[in-house]
């Protein structure tokens, strides 16, 4: 399928290019985000955003003078059919998905809530791929659901300011949440350690991982 193919077959429920949300966006405080921006302030950083391209996030990040790479992981996953064992993505998929020069290095990776939508095996493959493009000190921001169920599609996250995220829900349907535990996260992301972790009231655990 061409990258330019009209969406609609993918996960984005859109009409005439406009992304539909099924509920009023919610604004939540993000402690890990605040810590992350404190860490990178004053540095010229390379950022990988694994969510969809959102103008507000681009505009917000522009103040840091960063180079921003946008690779919409969930949209890419949606174009693939699961294999026999239900696994969507193996090492080949992630190599193709992150087809960037080997020497490219990311200082910050926004994974948002995408890990909730990958199986453990897929996450291991993905972590290995990401790790190749991270030097020591690189930071990875992830949101893990601790609730039994979660939306069937990832939220769209807009950075409102350095301490607040806007959650836009794209579907009213739910699916079981994998509820990855902190120890499981560090086991999957070998070479990274949990620098900060915050359990938020709305059932999300924020992780800020740092490459050792």
């Amino acid at each position: 399928m061409s990258w330019f193919s009209p969406r609609g077959s993918g996960p984005h429920k859109e009409q005439q290019g406009r992304v539909q949300t099924v509920a009023e966006p919610e604004v939540h405080r993000s402690l890990a985000l605040a810590a992350l921006f404190d860490d990178i302030r004053g540095r010229k950083v390379q950022v990988l955003d694994l969510g969809p391209a959102l103008g507000s996030n681009v505009e917000f990040l522009s103040q840091f003078g960063c180079k921003l790479f946008i690779e919409d992981l969930y949209a890419a996953l949606a174009t693939r059919a699961p294999s026999g064992d239900g696994e969507l993505a193996g090492p080949e998929f992630f190599a193709e998905f992150l087809a960037i020069p080997e020497e490219t290095r990311f200082d910050v990776i926004f994974a948002w809530d995408l890990f909730n939508y990958l199986q453990r095996k897929e996450l291991v493959h993905f972590a290995a791929r990401l790790s190749r493009h991270c030097d020591r000190g690189a930071r990875l921001f992830a949101l893990i659901s601790i609730l039994k169920t979660m939306p069937a599609q990832p939220f769209r996250f807009k950075i409102q300011d350095e301490q607040h995220l806007i959650y836009e829900r794209r579907t009213s349907s739910e699916r079981p949440s994998p509820r990855y535990a902190p120890l499981e996260v560090t086991d999957i992301f070998k070479g990274f350690r949990v620098d900060r972790s915050f359990l938020l009231r709305h059932g999300i655990q924020e992780f800020l991982l740092v490459k050792d």
Binding site: G17, G55, K67, L68, F69
Partner: protein, 183 residues
């Protein structure tokens, strides 16, 4: 194929059977030529349009604004002027301009001296380098965005650091309505 702009004044002369004019490119005045400072020499406000049925393979350069509604493969280089890829436009090329607006599809890098705008209907697969970038929600983008303020002229020369310029278009340059080839 060579497109040439007719800059001569129009003198109506009776001609028995005037051949049909090519639909594009069509120079036309634009109400505004985009942002400019008061210290710069007055800019031409002409605008050329590559129509929806036109396919151009080659390099485009020149000194007037350009709207692309057709297909272009090669390179679009109008650093001092505005470039718009319209909703019907499909461009496989690096695009350089003062303000670059994408409403259609671009596969290639976009370099804007002032601003790059990706409209809701637009899609870019490539890298953007511009001091200011606007992505409208619903637009599709895959690549990188470098918003470091480019030095005057020097910033745009950094494009060669991002992607070495292929030379296979050298023998296939086009000249479009005042958009001069090989500038």
């Amino acid at each position: 194929m060579v497109w040439k702009k007719n800059d001569d004044p129009i003198h109506p002369e009776p001609t028995p059977a005037a051949p049909p004019r090519p639909a594009v490119p069509t120079p036309s005045p634009t109400p505004s030529g985009g942002p400019s400072s008061g210290h710069e020499p007055p800019r031409r406000t002409d605008r050329a349009t590559i129509g929806a049925s036109i396919f151009i393979k080659g390099d485009l350069s020149g000194e007037e604004d350009l709207v692309i509604e057709g297909r272009v493969e090669g390179k679009v280089d109008l650093k001092q002027n505005n470039v718009t890829v319209g909703k019907n436009g499909k461009v496989k090329a690096d695009v350089s301009g003062r303000v670059v607006t994408i409403e259609g599809e671009v596969t290639g890098n976009v370099f804007a001296r002032e601003q790059a705008i990706l409209r809701q209907s637009g899609a870019i697969s490539g890298n953007i380098q511009a001091p200011r970038v606007i992505l409208e929600d619903g637009s599709r983008f895959k690549g990188s965005i470098d918003m470091e303020t480019p030095k005057e002229l020097g910033g745009l020369n950094r494009e060669r650091e991002l992607r070495p310029e292929p030379s296979h278009h050298e023998a296939n340059r086009a000249e479009v309505a005042g958009v001069k080839a090989g500038a």
